[in-house]
C-alpha cells in the first residue's frame, strides 16, 4: 500500500467526536473551516429555504438510488449507480449544512445541523421536487428519470456556480463536475435502450411517458427563488437549456418527447411547498426510522 493510500485508510479510521452510529461514523461537519456568514443584502431566511430545497432534492434522490443497491442488472452498473448516489448524498450534506447555518443567521434558533434536517423533519417540511421521490418501476424508468433530473440539476448548478452566496457557489461548482457525469451516464443508457431492440425501444418510450408528467414542476417559479435575486437561479429560465439537451438525447435514441399532461399541483402546491406524492411517506419512513428510534445513539 502506498503512502497516499494509507493516508486515506487512516482518515477513514480516524476517531472523531461524533459517535452517533445511526448516522454513519466519523462524519465531521461538511462545511468545517469555511466562512459561512451570509453576505450583506442576502435574506438569510430565504437562503436557508433555498438550500433546503436543493439539499432535499439531492437527499431524496440519493435515497431512491440507494434502494437499487444489490438489485442492479450488472455488478459494474451497480457501482456506477452507487457513485451517483454518493455524489448526491455529498451535495445534500453540504446544502443542508448551509441551510442550517443560514437559519441561525436569520435568527431562527440555533440552526439545525445536517442530521437534524435529514432525519427529524416531517413530510410536509421537505421541499424536494416530486420527481426526486418517484419510485423507478424498472431499469428504463431509472435511467429516464436520472437523465431528466441530471440535465435539470446540471443547468441549475451551472447557474448557481456564479451565485452571490460564495458558499452556495462553491458547492454548485463542485456539483457541476459530478452531475455532468450523471447526465452522461443516464443519457448513454437512454440512447442504448432507445436505439436498441424493438422491446428495449418500447420500454424506454414507456418509461419516458411515465416520468414526463413530473418534468413541468422543475420549471415552476417559487417565492423563495424570487426573494433571492443574484443568489438563486430562476427555474423558468432553465427550461430552454434542459429541453434542448433532452431533445438531443431523445433524437439520438430515436425516441419521441412525450406529449402528456403535467402532474397537477394539489391545492396549488407541489413538492417545493411541501406537498408530496403518496409514496414519499414510505421513503421517509425508511430513511428516518433508525435515527428516530435511536436518537443520538452512540457506539
Amino acid at each position: 500500500m502506498s503512502e497516499d493510500e494509507f493516508a486515506v485508510y487512516q482518515s477513514l479510521a480516524q476517531d472523531t467526536e461524533d459517535h452517533r452510529w445511526a448516522f454513519g461514523t466519523g462524519f465531521t461537519d461538511p462545511l468545517e473551516g469555511i466562512d459561512t456568514s451570509v453576505p450583506a443584502g442576502v435574506d438569510p431566511a430565504a437562503l436557508a429555504a433555498y438550500c433546503l430545497m436543493l439539499g432535499d432534492d439531492a437527499l431524496i434522490y440519493s435515497h431512491r438510488l440507494q434502494q437499487w443497491m444489490t438489485r442492479m442488472p450488472e455488478l459494474e452498473e451497480e457501482t456506477a449507480l452507487a457513485n451517483v448516489a454518493l455524489d448526491l448524498l455529498g451535495q445534500a450534506r453540504m446544502l443542508l449544512a448551509r441551510a442550517g447555518r443560514a437559519e441561525a443567521a436569520a435568527g431562527l434558533g440555533p440552526g439545525r445541523d445536517e442530521d437534524q434536517l435529514a432525519f427529524f423533519r416531517d413530510e410536509h417540511e421537505f421541499r424536494n421536487v416530486r420527481l426526486a421521490e418517484r419510485a423507478d418501476g424498472d431499469f428504463a424508468e431509472l435511467v429516464a428519470r436520472l437523465a431528466i433530473f441530471s440535465a435539470w440539476r446540471l443547468a441549475l448548478l451551472d447557474r448557481l456556480a456564479g451565485s452571490g452566496d460564495p458558499v452556495l457557489a462553491a458547492i454548485a461548482a463542485k456539483g457541476v463536475k459530478e452531475v455532468t457525469y450523471h447526465r452522461d451516464y443516464a443519457a448513454q443508457w437512454v440512447i442504448r435502450l432507445g436505439d436498441g431492440t424493438a422491446v428495449s425501444h418500447a420500454k424506454m418510450q414507456a418509461a419516458l411517458e411515465a416520468v414526463w408528467p413530473l418534468v413541468d414542476e422543475l420549471f415552476r417559479p417559487d417565492p423563495v427563488t424570487a426573494a433571492l435575486p443574484g443568489v438563486a437561479a430562476d427555474p423558468a429560465s432553465l427550461r430552454g437549456e434542459v429541453e434542448q439537451v433532452l431533445d438531443a438525447v431523445l433524437a439520438e435514441a430515436t425516441l419521441e418527447r412525450p406529449q402528456v399532461a403535467p402532474m397537477a399541483p394539489v391545492a396549488g402546491k407541489t413538492g417545493r411547498e411541501g406537498v408530496h406524492t403518496e409514496t414519499f411517506g414510505y421513503v421517509l419512513a425508511e430513511l428516518q426510522s433508525l435515527a428516530r428510534a435511536h436518537p443520538d445513539a452512540t457506539w
Binding site: E5, V8, R64, Q67, W68, R71, E74, L75, E76, E77, T79, A80, N83, A135, D136, G137, D138, Y185, Q188, R192, T279, Y282, E286
Partner: protein, 122 residues
Amino acid sequence: MSTGEFTAEGGHGAVPVTKVPAATGPEQVRSTWPLYEVFLRGKRGLNHVHVGSLHAADPQMALRHARDLYTRRNEGVSIWVVAAADITASSPDEKDPFFAPAGDKVYRHPTFYDIPDDVPHI
C-alpha cells in the same frame, strides 16, 4: 424446478416484484458481456498499468465502467480498455523456451561499467 416456487424480492418499492423472471433453471441463463482489461495511468506514473478487468457491452461502456470501478479513489488521469479476447498472451507451457535463455546472459546487463556519480536515473 418449476417457476412457481420462486418470487422476486422487492426493492423497497424501487424494483418491480411482478412479472419478473425469478426461477432458476437452464432457461434463465443469460448471455454475459465480454471481458475487458483495464489499464490506468496514475498521476505520478508514466506508463499505463494493468489494474484489473470488467464486463461491458462495448468499449465505450467499458471505459465508463473502468472509471466507476477503478478510479473511485482518485487513482488515475488516463484509462485504456482493451477486449480481453484481443490480447495475445504467451503460454505458461512456453515459459522455458521463451524466458530461460535470457537467464545466463549476464553480459546483457550493463553491470560491467563504472557509472559516474553525476549520471542520474541509472
